[in-house]
């Protein structure tokens, strides 16, 4: 009886479908090209995954809270530039990283200002902030990449464990785990879910929704700079075009992983599987020999599929809630 219940619970779990899809994707591409699951290619996949993976931690928390962030990519890019400038001025790398994180928090607080103080739609406000930051990045660098000469900093992006697990992706996993625990096990985490599920109910329960989203925007800014720092370290350059394009990908993996666009649902474990699924799929297309032009189209179709899935998931959730209310 109990075992039956457990099986049901596992099968009904959103992540179950995701894991199943992931296995199908892995199986199909492995059939097409048997180098797909080689150690070298797995390392490739993880190395492509860490930027969007890191961004998706901050963005995921905001999405659960019912907000959106389109500036993470730009903040990450700027973080990479800031750390580059600091290192080239001779600042030791731990200090440079710390200062960059603080700068990211400041940039994140800009989003909080526009969305919470001026009540501007998060999407468009963060898009505006993103444009300003991206533009400043171009102005500072003249659209040129800047090499980093601090060799001890390079280790951050180039170290591998067991020759398959790159350090940047390990950091992404640690962040996912830490925020997964915060979301599920702490008071603050539950407040995030409540704010995203129903902001006015949260307010009536004594939660300050604006305070929560302010913290999360600042947090997302800081996390975005981690992605920027790791990218800069891996490329050994600060680039005004890096990270920018990963913003939408990060949203995609969040939604793919079961975070509802309307807020209030989703988990970091789902995001983790979403990251693996998205990147295995993208890498698989290349491995299968498809023209790289197909990549944006494929990613778009994947995102639309995730959004449509989200629609049906949300509808069945509401149906279940209503049925539950009738019983009660």
């Amino acid at each position: 009886m109990i075992r039956n219940f457990l099986v049901k619970k596992v099968v009904r779990n959103n992540n179950f479908t995701l894991v199943l899809t992931l296995f199908v994707v892995l199986f199909v591409f492995q059939m097409i090209n048997k180098n797909y699951l080689s150690l070298g290619n797995i390392r490739n996949i993880l190395n492509q995954a860490f930027v969007m993976g890191t961004l998706s931690v901050g963005i995921g928390c905001l999405l659960i809270c019912g907000k959106a962030d389109l500036s993470s990519g730009a903040i990450g890019m700027m973080g990479g530039l800031i750390v580059t400038f600091l290192l080239n001025w001779g600042v030791p790398w731990p200090l440079a990283v710390l200062i960059t994180l603080c700068a990211g928090a400041v940039m994140g607080s800009l989003n909080a200002f526009f969305t919470n103080v001026l009540n501007i739609m998060p999407f468009i406000a963060t898009l505006g902030v993103s444009s300003v930051i991206a533009g400043l990045g171009q102005v500072f660098t003249n659209l040129q990449d800047i090499p980093i000469y601090n060799k001890s900093f390079w280790v951050l992006g180039s170290k591998n464990f067991f020759s398959t697990l790159p350090l940047p992706f390990l950091i992404t996993m640690v962040l996912l785990l830490a925020y997964g625990i915060i979301l599920k096990r702490t008071r603050f985490g539950r407040q995030i879910y409540m704010t995203g599920g129903n902001a006015s109910a949260a307010r009536l329960a004594g939660i300050n929704p604006k305070k929560i989203s302010t913290i999360l925007y600042i947090n997302s800014g800081a996390i975005a700079t981690i992605a920027g720092i790791l990218t800069a370290s891996r490329m050994q350059t600060g680039s005004p075009t890096a990270v920018l394009s990963y913003n939408l990908d990060a949203i995609t993996v969040g939604v793919l992983g079961g975070i509802s666009f309307t807020g209030g649902t989703g988990s970091m474990s789902g995001v983790f599987i979403g990251i693996l699924l998205f990147n295995s799929f993208k890498n698989g297309l290349v491995i299968a020999g498809l023209d790289s032009y197909y990549q944006p189209v494929a990613s778009g179709i994947l995102l639309i599929a995730a959004l449509i899935l989200d629609f049906y998931r949300e509808r069945s959730r509401l149906k279940a809630l209503r049925a539950h209310e009738k019983l009660g």
């Binding site: 501007i120 999407f123 102005v139 659209l143 944006p296 778009g300 639309i304």
Partner: protein, 328 residues
């Protein structure tokens, strides 16, 4: 008595304050630009000329925003239709077939957006961003597949680069005709009033017997088709299908519409304000260039202008709300 009331109304209107803002921008650059080159006839014509593409995007984008949604895809759709135009013409199809085909492709993109938004409840922002930055952007590379097609069709070149009386560009006439027609449609027809009504309150509109879904399909189709038209004019001007195309035009066009008083909440704004917004932004950017600033600053400026426009929008919406309800 009545006359003074009317004057008061004009002085208090949003369009009047936009006009003042425009005068300030023009006066500033008139004095600050080297040798007063800003106010030379040639420069004024080049400002108006550079506005044509933005105008088409702003009309379609503005229409969607008034209806309470947002459309970020037209600039990408424009890029698709630009390369499509060049390729189809190159394959020997006559212009009177190619132009309608491209317009239909643009409208089809609009319909795709409308399906995602209306049938699957996806937020318009993310749905249009996906179709734009992933699907349309991917097609921009896939359609020409590495070849740059030159446009040699005399008719297409004539309407894209020709000048009436050797002075007024035909594209300028087209864009002004379009903004005037849509201005009249919005202000004077049943369709126009329905657009305002569904933007102001979709539920009330449904209760009043309108069909918000059906209207939304029509509005998005218009937006897509206008994007296609802009892309075709742009390609015609360059005499080739450019891979970059009109992509960078979408963001400033939306900014102009918002600056012109088309509120993001939907239900307010008009094409006159939108036109003034376009004039302000284009004068502003043109002036920046004349002052010898790097072009990268334009990205920063467009973000700053968007945030300013949103802030103004916030305060004016609040005022309207206070007037309507007597409280915030």
């Amino acid at each position: 008595m009545e006359k003074s009331n009317r004057l008061k109304k004009i002085l208090a209107s949003k369009e009047f304050s936009l006009f003042i803002l425009l005068v300030i921008v023009v006066a500033f650059y008139g004095v600050a630009s080297p040798n007063g080159s800003f106010l030379k006839t040639r420069n004024i014509r080049s400002i108006l000329d550079s506005m044509t593409i933005y105008t088409l995007f702003a009309v379609g984008g503005g229409l969607v925003i008034i209806s309470g949604k947002i459309d970020l895809s037209p600039s990408y759709v424009g890029a698709v239709c630009g390369v499509l135009l060049a390729k189809l013409l190159d394959q020997g199809l006559p212009w009177y077939l190619v132009v309608p085909i491209c317009l239909a492709v643009g409208a089809a993109f609009g319909l795709l957006n409308a399906v995602l938004i209306n049938e699957f409840n996806i937020q318009s922002f993310i749905a249009t961003l996906t179709t734009g930055t992933f699907i349309a952007q991917g097609l921009v590379y896939l359609i020409p597949a590495g070849v740059t097609y030159q446009i040699k069709d005399p008719v297409v070149i004539w309407y894209s680069t020709g000048k009436i009386f050797g002075f007024i560009p035909i594209t300028m006439v087209i864009s002004i005709l379009i903004i005037v027609i849509f201005g009249i449609v919005l202000a004077k027809t049943k369709f126009g009033r329905s657009v305002y009504l569904i933007g102001g309150n979709a539920n009330a509109a449904r209760l009043a017997g309108l069909k918000p879904k059906k209207l939304s399909y029509i509005i998005f189709a218009y937006s897509g088709a206008l994007g296609a038209l802009a892309g075709m004019l742009y390609a015609g001007r360059l005499k080739s299908g450019s891979l970059v195309g009109t992509v960078s035009y979408g963001f400033p066009a939306v900014t102009a519409a918002i600056l012109g008083g088309i509120s993001l909440g939907g239900g307010t704004g008009n094409m006159l304000g939108c036109f003034l917004g376009l004039l302000i932004i284009n004068s502003f950017n043109n002036g920046l260039m004349l002052m010898g600033l790097k072009p990268y600053w334009q990205t920063v400026a467009s973000g700053v202008l968007l945030l300013i426009a949103l802030t103004i929008d916030y305060f004016s919406t609040r005022e309207r709300k206070i007037k309507l309800t007597g409280s915030i």
